[in-house]
Amino acid sequence: MNYLEIALMILQFAALILISPLITGIIRKIKARMQNKVGASIFQPYRDLHKLLKKESVVSENASFFFRLVPYISMTAMILLAAMTPFVYGGVIAPYSDVIAMVYIFTMFRFAMIVGGLEGGSAFGGMGSSREVMMSVLIEPALLISIMTLSAMTGVGFNITDISGSINAAGAAAISPALLLAGAAFVITMVAENTRVPFDNPDTHLELTMVHEGMLIEYSGRGLAMMETASMLRLTIFMTLLGTVFFPWGTAMTLSIADLALSVAVIIVKLLVIAFGIALLESIIAKMRVFRMPNMLTASFALSLMAMISLYVL
C-alpha cells in the first residue's frame, strides 16, 4: 500500500461525501426541468445544510439522550459505508469492506432512525417509524439477497471490492440472468430505501405521504443537518454501489493515471445517468398508496430470490 494509493483513497472517500448533496441537487434540478419548472440551483442543498448547521436546535421536552445520539449514529454509519464502497478505485478500508457488514450498517442507520422517530411522542413520528418498519422488513432481505447473489456468483468471498473487481475483470461474460435480476431488485430497493417517489415523496412534508420525513420531523438545527446529509449520502452510496458493483465496467483496476482518469469519467457518467433515471421515474409515476407498497416490495424480494436461485439452478 504505497502512499499514492492511500492518498487516492482518502481523496476518493472525501469526494464521495462531498458530492452527495450535489447529486441530490442535480436530481431535484432534473426533476424540476422535466416538470418544466426552473427548480433551485444544484448547489442549493449545500446552502440548506450550511444554514441548518448555524441554526439553534429546538428539541421537544420528551426527547431523551438517544434523540441527540441518533444524528451521530446515522452519520457514523453512512461515513463508514462511504469508506467501504468502491468509488473510483476501491474502498478506503478495502480489506475490511465486508458485504454482510455493509447490509447491517444500513440496518443500523434505519434502526436508529426508527427509534429516533418515536422520541417526540407525536403521531407523525410514530406513523413514520411504523411505516418505515413495514417497508424495511421487506427491503432488508431483498438487499441482503441481491448482494449475496453477487458474492455467490463471483465466488470471491464477501469483500465488496473483490466482487466488483472480479465482475469488472470478467467483462461482458459477467452479464448473466442472475446479475440482471439482482440489479433490478437492487434498483427497486434503492428507490424504496431512499424513499423516492413510488414509495414516499421526499419533497413534501405532507402527513399522508411521509415515511422518511415523519421520522425527521422532530429534528432541527444541527441534528437535522446531519440527518439530511446522512440520507443524501445514503442515496449517493446506493447509486455508486449500483454503478461500481452491479455494472462495474470501467472502474480502475490498476493505479495507472489513464485508468484512473477513465474511471473518474465513467463514474460521473454513471451517476448522471442514474440521477436522470431517478428523476424520470419520479416525474412519471405517482406515489403508491401505503398498503399497495408491500406488493412492490415483495416483487423486489422475489426478484432477488429468483436471482439467487437462478444462480444455483441454472
Binding site: V59, F65, M75, G121, S129, L138, P141, F301
Partner: protein, 657 residues
C-alpha cells in the same frame, strides 16, 4: 506443569471443584426448607452466588488440562452418577454460571420476589443445570433435565398462574419422556451408560433409526426451546412468572438444551451422509419457528411476551445452524465447523442479551408497576441509566454492528452463503434459508425497536410512568456488567470463536487443519469494525459539536398533544399485521367501558396454535375420558357383567388363537 505430580493434583482438584460447586447450593436448598424469614433468604442467595462463582472456574480449569470427570460412590437403580466436563461443556458451564450469578445478584438486589422458597429453588435449578451440562451418565442427564423442568415449574409460581405453569410442566414432561425413549435406545445400542463412550452410534443403528433418534432428541429438547408445535406455553409462562425465572429459563436452560443436542447429534449419534432428509426437516421446522416467533413478537401486549417470542426466534436460528451443520459436515467440513461455531456463539450471545433485557423489564415493572406495554412510555427521561443499559441490549438483540448480536448473525450468514454444495437440491436450500434469516432479522429488529420505543421514549401513558419509584441501588450493577459483556463480546468475538473451535473439533471430530479463519471473510473484522465505528463517531462528534438547545413542548399542530395523540404499540405493528394477515389469529373485540356509554375497540391476538391445536386436542382427550368414565355405572351388577365378559373373552381368545 510437570513440576508437581499432575495426576494426584488433577484428582484432588476435580473433587475440590465439584465439592465447591455442589455443597453451597445443597446447603442453600436445605436452609430454604427450614427457614421462612428474609434475612435467611439473602444468605441462601449468597450461597447460590458462591456456587455460581465456582462454576465459572470450569473453563479455566479445563483449559489447564484438569480432567473434570468424577463418579459418585453412590449408584442409582439405572447406573451410577458420573460427571465429566469436556471442552465444549466447560465453555457453556462457565458462561451460564456467569449469567446465573448475575441474575441471582439482581434477584437479591431487586428483592421483588426473593423469599426463602424462591432462592432455595434457585439453588436447586443451578445444581440441576450444572449436572445436566456435566452429565456423563444417561440417568444424570435425564434426571437433571427433568429437575430443571420441576424447579422452573416451582420457581414460576406468582399469584395464581397455575394454568400457564401447568401447561409448561406438561409440555416439558412430554419432551422429557421423548428423551427418555431416545437415550434409552442409545444406551441399549451402546451397551454402556456412560455418555463419553458413546460415539458414532448412528453407524451401528442404521440411517433411518438414527434419523428418528435425532428427530426425537431435537423435539424432546425443542419443547423447552420453543420449537413450533411446543412453543405455546412460552408467552403464558413468561407473562405471568417472575421475570428472573423467565430469564433463567431462556438463558441457562436453553444453553443446556443446545449443548446436549449438539453433543447428541454430532458425537453420540454421529452424522452420516444419508441423514440429510432429517436435516431438511429440522431446517424447515426451525425456519418456520423463527418466522413464527418474529411475527408473533410484533403484536404482543406485554414486554415479557415479546421477549418470550424473541427467545423462540433466537433458539430456532441456533437449531437451524445445528441442522445446516448436519448437511455441510459431509459436503465441506470447514464450513460445517464455521456454522456450528456460529450456532454456539449465538447461544452464548443470546443468553447475555436476553438476561440483560429481562432484567431491565423486571426493573421497569418494579419501578412503575405497569405490565402492559400500551400504558408505558417516557421512562428514559425519568430513569436515564436504565435506558442506556437497555438501548445497548436492544442494539445487540437487533444485531447492530458493534455488538455481539451482530457478530453471530454475521457469522451465520457467512457460513450459509459460503459453502457451494454440489447437489442441486441442496443448493436450492441456501437462498430459502438466507431469505428466512433475513426476514426474521429485520422483523425482530422492528419488534425490539417497538419494545424500546414504547417503554422508554415518547410521553408517559400512565401515571405509574410519570413518577416511577427510584431504582433500588445496586440493581443496575448486574445489568451494567451484562451491557459491557454485550459490547465486549462484540469486539473480541474472535477470542470466543477460537475457544468454541477447540470444543467443536473435539465433539464433531472434523479435522482442525484448515482453520475456520481461512474460510471466513476477515477474521479480525468484528474488532476492526468496532474500532472504526468508535473512531468515526468521535470524529463526527468533533466536527459537528452539539450546538445550543432549547427545550420546547412537542409541536401538536396548534393545540397541546392529547393523551391519545401518541402512537399506540398495536398501531405501530398494524401495517405489518396487514401484510402478514393470514398468520395472525387476531379478532377485534368491542368492549363496553365502565360508564357504559363509550365503547372501546380492541384487537385481541390469540396464539393460533393454542386455538387450533391445543384446545381441540385437550377437548378430544376429555371427551374420550368422559365416554370411558360412563362405563362406571355404579351398579354392582354391571361390574359382575364386566368380570364375566372378560372371563369369556379371554377363554374364547385362548381357545381360538
Amino acid at each position: 506443569m510437570d513440576i508437581f505430580n499432575l495426576t494426584l493434583q488433577n484428582e484432588a482438584l476435580t473433587v475440590i471443584f465439584f465439592a465447591a460447586v455442589f455443597i453451597p447450593a445443597l446447603a442453600g436448598t436445605i436452609l430454604s426448607l427450614m427457614f421462612r424469614y428474609n434475612k435467611v433468604a439473602n444468605l441462601i442467595a449468597g450461597l447460590c452466588i458462591t456456587s455460581c462463582a465456582v462454576g465459572i472456574a470450569a473453563y479455566p480449569l479445563r483449559a489447564l488440562g484438569v480432567p473434570l470427570s468424577y463418579t459418585f460412590p453412590l449408584s442409582s437403580a439405572v447406573g451410577d452418577y458420573a460427571l465429566a466436563i469436556d471442552q465444549i461443556s466447560s465453555v457453556m458451564i462457565s458462561l451460564s454460571s456467569v449469567i446465573f450469578m448475575l441474575i441471582v445478584v439482581h434477584v437479591v438486589k431487586s428483592s421483588s420476589d426473593s423469599g426463602c422458597r424462591y432462592s432455595g429453588l434457585l439453588n436447586v435449578l443451578f445444581i440441576a443445570s450444572f449436572l445436566c451440562m456435566a452429565a456423563d451418565s444417561v440417568l444424570v442427564l435425564l434426571i437433571s433435565w427433568e429437575m430443571i423442568t420441576l424447579s422452573t415449574f416451582l420457581l414460576a409460581k406468582k399469584g395464581n398462574n397455575d394454568r400457564a405453569r401447568w401447561m409448561f410442566f406438561v409440555i416439558a414432561h412430554i419432551g422429557g419422556l421423548m428423551l427418555m425413549c431416545a437415550y434409552g435406545y442409545l444406551a441399549w445400542v451402546a451397551g454402556t451408560q456412560t455418555l463419553s463412550d458413546w460415539n458414532g452410534l448412528g453407524a451401528i443403528v442404521g440411517s433411518t433409526t438414527s434419523m428418528i433418534l435425532v428427530l426425537m432428541i431435537v423435539m424432546g429438547f425443542g419443547t423447552k426451546l420453543g420449537l413450533l408445535p411446543f412453543h405455546a406455553w412460552m408467552p403464558g409462562l413468561y407473562g405471568t412468572a417472575p421475570t428472573h425465572t423467565a430469564a433463567l429459563l431462556s438463558t441457562v436452560c436453553s444453553n443446556v438444551a443446545v449443548l446436549t443436542i449438539f453433543k447428541s447429534i454430532y458425537s453420540y449419534i454421529g452424522v452420516t451422509e444419508s441423514m440429510s432428509v432429517i436435516a431438511f426437516a429440522i431446517i424447515g421446522l426451525a425456519a418456520a419457528t423463527a418466522l413464527w416467533g418474529a411475527m408473533e413478537s410484533l403484536v404482543q401486549k406485554e414486554p415479557k411476551k415479546i421477549l418470550a417470542y424473541s427467545s423462540v426466534e433466537n433458539m430456532a436460528l441456533v437449531i437451524l445452524c445445528l441442522a445446516l451443520g448436519m448437511i455441510y459436515i459431509n459436503e465441506s467440513p470447514v464450513f460445517a465447523k464455521l456454522i456450528l461455531i456460529a450456532g454456539l456463539l449465538h447461544t452464548l450471545n443470546h443468553s447475555v442479551f436476553k438476561s440483560l433485557m429481562l432484567m431491565t423489564i423486571d426493573t421497569v415493572e418494579d419501578c412503575t408497576g405497569e405490565k402492559n406495554i400500551g400504558r408505558m412510555g417516557g421512562l428514559a427521561k425519568t430513569l436515564p441509566l436504565l435506558a442506556v443499559v437497555s438501548i445497548i441490549g436492544v442494539f445487540s438483540m437487533a444485531a447492530i454492528p458493534p455488538t455481539n448480536g451482530f457478530v453471530s448473525e454475521w457469522l451465520m450468514i457467512q457460513s450459509i452463503m459460503g459453502v457451494n454444495l454440489q447437489s442441486k437440491g441442496m443448493s436450492l436450500l441456501i437462498p430459502l434459508v438466507l431469505a428466512a434469516v433475513g426476514i426474521c432479522g429485520m422483523m425482530m429488529a422492528a419488534s425490539y425497536a417497538r419494545l424500546y420505543g414504547f417503554i422508554f421514549l415518547g410521553r408517559p401513558r400512565s401515571d405509574g410512568m410519570r413518577e416511577p419509584r427510584p431504582m433500588k441501588n445496586g440493581t443496575l450493577l448486574p445489568m451494567a456488567v451484562l451491557a459491557i459483556l454485550c459490547v465486549g463480546m462484540g469486539f473480541f468475538a474472535t477470542v470466543i470463536m477460537d475457544v468454541l473451535t477447540t470444543g467443536v473439533v473435539s465433539v464433531t471430530g472434523i479435522a482442525p487443519s484448515p482453520s475456520y479463519r481461512s474460510v471466513m471473510s476477515e477474521e479480525m473484522l468484528p474488532l476492526i469494525l468496532g474500532v472504526l465505528i468508535v473512531i468515526t463517531s468521535v470524529a463526527v462528534l468533533l466536527v459537528v459539536r452539539p450546538g445550543k438547545e432549547r427545550e420546547v413542548r412537542t409541536w401538536g399542530c396548534g393545540e397541546d398533544l392529547g393523551k391519545e395523540m401518541q402512537y399506540s404499540s398495536i398501531g405501530f405493528s398494524q401495517p405489518l399485521v396487514r401484510v402478514f394477515h393470514p398468520f395472525y389469529g387476531d379478532t377485534t373485540v368491542v368492549r363496553e367501558t365502565k360508564e357504559g356509554s363509550k365503547k372501546t375497540v380492541h384487537t385481541e391476538f390469540t396464539e393460533p396454535f393454542v386455538r387450533y391445536l391445543y384446545m381441540p386436542l385437550g377437548n378430544a382427550i376429555t371427551a374420550i375420558s368422559e365416554k370411558i368414565s360412563k362405563t362406571q355405572t355404579n351398579r354392582i351388577q354391571t361390574y359382575f357383567g364386566y368380570v364375566l365378559i372378560t372371563l369369556i373373552a379371554v377363554l374364547l381368545a385362548v381357545r381360538i388363537l
